[in-house]
Amino acid sequence: MDIFHYIFMQRALFVGVLISVVCPVISFFVVNRKLGFIGVGITHAAFGGMALGSFLGVNPVWTSVLFSGAAAIAIARVSRMRKVSEDTAIGVMYAAAMAIGIILIGLKKNYTVDLFGYLFGNILAVTKSDIISIAVMGAVVLLAVAFFFKEFLLLCFDEEYGRTLGLPMTALYYFLLLLIALTVVMAMKVIGIILVSALLILPAATAQIWFRDFRAVIAASIAFSLFTVVAGLAASYYLNLASGATIVLTGTIVFLLSGLLNRKRKPADSNFAS
């Protein structure tokens, strides 16, 4: 394809493929542990972290990792204390993180960060150093999932049973949230803070319409994600549309089509008991 003769498109394709491998793997746990709304909270907290980095003059990627990671742990801690519900904790936390971000950006007179790019994503503005940080974060996430895969399976399927086996389920839950935070920051420059939560949900949600074994679901999530990112990227180039938004809409269309084509299949939830 001649669009990939351009260096910026080659870079875009490369990070797109990286994200297409990492996001679906995390998406599998987000969907099955029902962490979609926490994912939204974490993405908005990343905005506060980005603004903090810009305010302090340090790389916003790393402040975003710290900020969204801390927000994820705080949401989980508060909701596990059961004084407030999880959705209340998320609602309070992500609005506060966004507010902090807006105030910090307002305080800094000449900010150099591409705010619009972070909010809505700009895969075409990816730099060499972005590629390195995305690759490092992606490798950390994939390695961590490989090491703790069976424990994460149990966390999603039957957390209480994991406790009876003596496994540290609460620590594993927090660790999974940190990996979600890392994935969000990894993808936020490409897809945008506002839209990145879609990549935490769509790949596995689409794959689970078709498959019922976790190995097949993860493999299909990656395939759906690769198709979505490459097709979305090509469409954004030829139609001159925002890249992050086009990728997310492509993924949404694949999800809706999957649902329509596979309408007759009973959702797994409804097969319970007899």
Binding site: R33, F147, K150, L153, F157, E160, T164, L167, D213, S274
Partner: protein
């Protein structure tokens, strides 16, 4: 080995300020089915969780007399249905393998040995033909047997079952209780069984604990009258039958007597 396999000495536990169990003294003998009955909210599941080491007693002591010497994973636990994510994309074989995760430890993946153990456990419970099915495709009775196979995979000495017959029809319940008796008699397994089914207590339990914040243990489940669960026992729909008669009945004034059918499911 001599002596009780589990001993609870003056054990108490509370959720916040309200006590769930007070001053519990129990000696559970090896190779027995130990029934736990009582009203909802009376502390049955709390008692099971204490033995499973899921919660720690606020006072008192729980001691184990296990052949392995180590408490985990020599206790197989089957929690109530509520904690399971039924839409999770997992096959029966993978669910049974989960019973070996504690023994495997962190960072280790299940290998051939674990798959063989899981298959052996499935065969023992009679669900080996189901191992490639998705967990949500099974009937309630089959799902419960999968979780028993999971609890048995690590070859425990004690099996803790929290209302295993919930969501089962009468035929599946009979099959389950026969299997529990077989596990006790053939493997010498000690089974702690939380149940609301008063028909099964005299049939398979060697001892029974009536639990309603305090606990009273009865050595003769067939003559179960107990002051602490009197109201509860009095309102049970099913009549307690004595002896070896294997079927459960309902009261005449509620449409009976009616023998439950012996339709084998699936």
């Amino acid at each position: 080995m001599d002596g009780p396999i589990v001993t609870l000495e003056n054990v108490s536990f509370g959720y916040g300020a309200s006590p769930a169990l007070e001053g519990v003294n129990i000696h559970i003998e090896r190779g027995q089915v130990f029934g736990i009955v009582g009203p909802n909210g009376g502390g049955k599941t709390t008692l099971l969780k204490l033995v499973a080491d899921l919660i720690k007693p606020s006072s008192g002591k729980i001691t184990f007399n296990l052949k392995s010497g180590d408490k985990n994973p020599r206790i197989g636990y089957m929690p109530q249905y509520a904690s399971v994510n039924w839409s999770f994309p997992v096959k029966v074989s993978d669910v049974i393998l989960m019973g070996l995760y504690g023994e495997l430890g962190m960072f280790h993946r299940p290998g051939r040995r674990e798959r063989e153990l899981a298959h052996e456990s499935a065969q023992r419970i009679g669900i080996d033909e189901l191992i490639n099915r998705h967990i949500s495709e099974l009937s309630g009775g089959q799902q419960q047997r999968v979780f028993i196979a999971r609890a048995l995979a690590a070859k425990p000495e004690i099996l803790l079952l929290d209302e295993p017959a919930a969501n089962m029809d009468a035929a599946a319940q009979d099959m389950l209780y026969n299997q529990l008796e077989k596990l006790r008699d053939e493997l010498g397994l000690t089974v702690l069984l939380v149940t609301h089914d008063m028909g099964v207590v005299p049939k398979i339990c060697n001892q029974v604990a009536c639990v309603n914040r305090i606990v009273e243990v009865h050595d003769k489940p067939e003559n179960l009258t107990c002051p602490i669960t009197k109201d509860y026992l009095g309102t049970q729909k099913e009549i307690l039958l004595h002896g070896d008669f294997p079927h459960r009945m309902v009261r005449r004034d509620e449409g009976g007597p009616e023998r439950t059918g012996h339709r084998h499911e699936h």
